[in-house]
Amino acid sequence: MSAAPQLVTVLALAAAWIALGIAGLAALHRFGVVSRLLFPAGGAVALALLGVALPAVWGAPQSIVLPVGLPGLPFHFRLDSLSALFLMVIGGAAAGVSLFSAGYFRRAEGTPPGLMCFQYHVFLAAMALVVLADDAYAFMVMWETMALASFFLVTANHRSAEIRRAGYLYLLIAHLGALAILLCFGVLQANTGDYSFDNMRVQTLSPFWASAAFLLALVGFGAKAGLVPLHVWLPEAHPAAPSPVSALMSGVMLKTAVYGFLRVAYDLLPDLLWWWGVTALAVGLVTALLGVAFAAVQSDMKRLLAWSSVENIGLIFAGIGLSLLFAAYGMPAVAALALTAALYHVASHALFKSLLFVATGSVLHATSERSLGRLGGLLRVMPWVGWASLLGVLASAGLPPFGGFVSEWLLLQSFLFTPQLPNSFLNMLIPAVAALIALVAALAGYVMVKFYGVVFLGQHREEKLARAHDAGLWERLGMAWLAAGCVLLGVLPAQGLHVLAPVVERLTGASLAGGGWLLVPVAVERASYGPVLFLAGVGASVVLAFLLVRGLYHGRVRRAPPWDCGFPWLTHRMQDTAEGFGQPVRQIFEPLYRLRRHLPTAFDARPRYAVEVGDHVWHWLYLPAARAVEGAARLIGRLQQGRISIYLLYSFAALIAVLLWVTR
């Protein structure tokens, strides 16, 4: 036991989460205990996890075998740099979300508070254990626990049919993914019957089977992460879940899929083939573009954020794909750069997306509205939520000096190294890919302006919004923690890189130098980015401008009604709606959507205009598949006549057939 002190501590922390969950079951209906004691305690455990995992990033791998589970199949756990990094992500985001949850859950909302607390903490513990698992058996058990716990959390408000439907879709795709992952492990163990990851690491597979394992991993983990075309559950499940759960699912759970993919591609598979990287890159890019294009046309704030998560996952997979491509061509330094970009984005997306999701939770509680068409002007009545969300929005839009920009910057830098690839065809193609990434990043800014502008700025679109209340103390604490993380990741990227360096080093064999105030991938002459200096530059200009204006002139302000070109009858309906704000994007990217317009004719007594934005994937893939399954089920259903004589006839026929076959 003493050989793996940090691993034991982490396992103990996961056990503490489960214990908190069980305590929640014990105090099933005692709301005060659950919300004021258990959730903050869960947050403290998350903080401890962050603190334990941080030094483990630099430590040697530690492993342990626990004799639980089936006889002869003990759980193997292992803590190495990659696991430690993802534990940090889980701990960092969960700390904020747990603090927020302490103030968020209300009485009488579907599931009793104690049960919610149980599911929530089991979910957290399962995510931590997935990252630690070192054999396929433990991994799948934890993976399924995670999926089931999150399924029950999504359907917390199970009385609504829409939410049950979303939960069903989520469960279905989660299991399709789990099947693919199971098959992937089956291929990786190469007929040895030993499912431990240690065994998989030493197996050599033929290129065919290695490719099969890679593609299965891409499908399996892609289903969990939300890669196109397996993304359809995200925009359904995230709005259905309570906001802290959406935050955990979007910010953290999607990252366990990224972890699994990295584990298989970089650790378990022996050699990399170049087209794997291209495949992951292509899938990631399509996902990113589709995600951001759909986010721009949403009119439900949580759905918008869910689509934005699809986009971010796409960017992360694009980075991983690029890194795999470089690694396959034996360019470890650039592979390290691209992988650093992807991992940095994992961390910053975990924080800013959790922040934005919990902020929508506060908005939802204060206004009981989720539709962008009924919000507006909340910055004035909910300043805490508004200003914290502004930080999240700026980070999410990939603007300097916030977290999202660092990863975008690193990713674009790694694209500039593609001319060194030995494959001239790829050399031609990849600049176009960089252009696409730039487009996605710019569109993300558009989406975030839409989100923030419609929810928090402008006039109230409903009367009752003026009476909305700001978030409570616990909610503020949670949001402050997450917002501080967004800012720190943005301002101190060199320190962030210092933490990532051992992880990237172990996976690709090279790493980026961290430390100092400047972010320098190769040399200062080549490229550098210094957020501290950047922030100081903007800040000093702002302060100087302010002081000079006040000093040389005056600071007089007169309040008056809005000018609006002299138009005096301003109402809230004259602002852009969410649909209006998304209209240019809808027009430019029209082929991406499945649009159905209802246009009025000149003779309509009550003219009505409506437009419906659908997903091609849903129409061309899922509905035909569902129809095929239903058709097959109906054919099989014909066998079932419900009369016992018919069934006896089947048995008889089967018996005859078997006899004929045996005596042949």
Binding site: G377, N427, P431, A434, R526, F534, A545, R556
Partner: protein, 318 residues
Amino acid sequence: MSALGFASQLLEILVALALAPLLVGWVNQCRAWLQSRDGPGLLQPYRLLHKLFHKDSVVAANASPLFRAAPYIVFGCMLLACGIVPTLSIDLPLSPAADAIALVGLFALARVFISLAAMDIGTAFGTLGARREMLVGFLAEPALLMVFFTAALISDSTSLTTLVRTLSAQELGIQPSLALAAVALVMVALAENARVPVDNPATHLELTMIHEALVLEYSGRHLALLEWAAALKLFAYAGIGIALFAPWGIAEAHAPLALAVALPVLVAKLAVAGFALALLETLSAKMRIFRVPEFLGMAFMLAVIAMLVNLLLGNTGT
């Protein structure tokens, strides 16, 4: 980081602050001449700023603090942009803070803040302006990045000072990729600075305006700061064009004499660029907003083609 570096950095920022309104005045004056008008004189932008700073700032009753902070933030962003684009010298202490990609991010930061501020009051024109500004922005930003990437592929660096050093060391002659990138940059600059084919800085027809709609609710010192920031942005874009496509005359490090030469050279280049802009604005008509995506899509395509040409033909200049 030499004392000279700090001096040239400070000088560059001060020159940008001082010359930016003059550049706007020059463009307006040239345009007036081309349209056979007398024009308001070169110094009109300074008078306007002075007047606006003196006036009270009228703020809408329901404006949030974001509305009042935005002009300062936008001004700060543009000032930093002028500080990191090498216009006078390449010995700039602020240069490591932001390379070309971060510069694009800096413009985006300013754009997001001004758009958010425009949505803050909740007027029809404000949100309309914000939407159009973000539309132009998300189309122009990737094109600008691709222009920078073309230059970055030539000099193997995204650092603006290294870009200028490599490009100015090249033989005089047109690289096909740079020529394409230059056209793309001009198109992006027209769109980003709210110039004629995309927007009209002199418009007062509400339905067609973009930049004017954004700043419609501002008055007094806030408006002055935004106008000054717009001038600085034009200056920064002119600086980018000069740095990438006409970098000769920008002072090298450790050359105090060259700095003295660099200033008149810069003024001459800006005068030519300003006249060209006025000519372009006079010769073209404003297009409908629905045509803007096509216009910027073309800029984007040109910039991507420039990159591909660079990869196909290799580096012909060095």
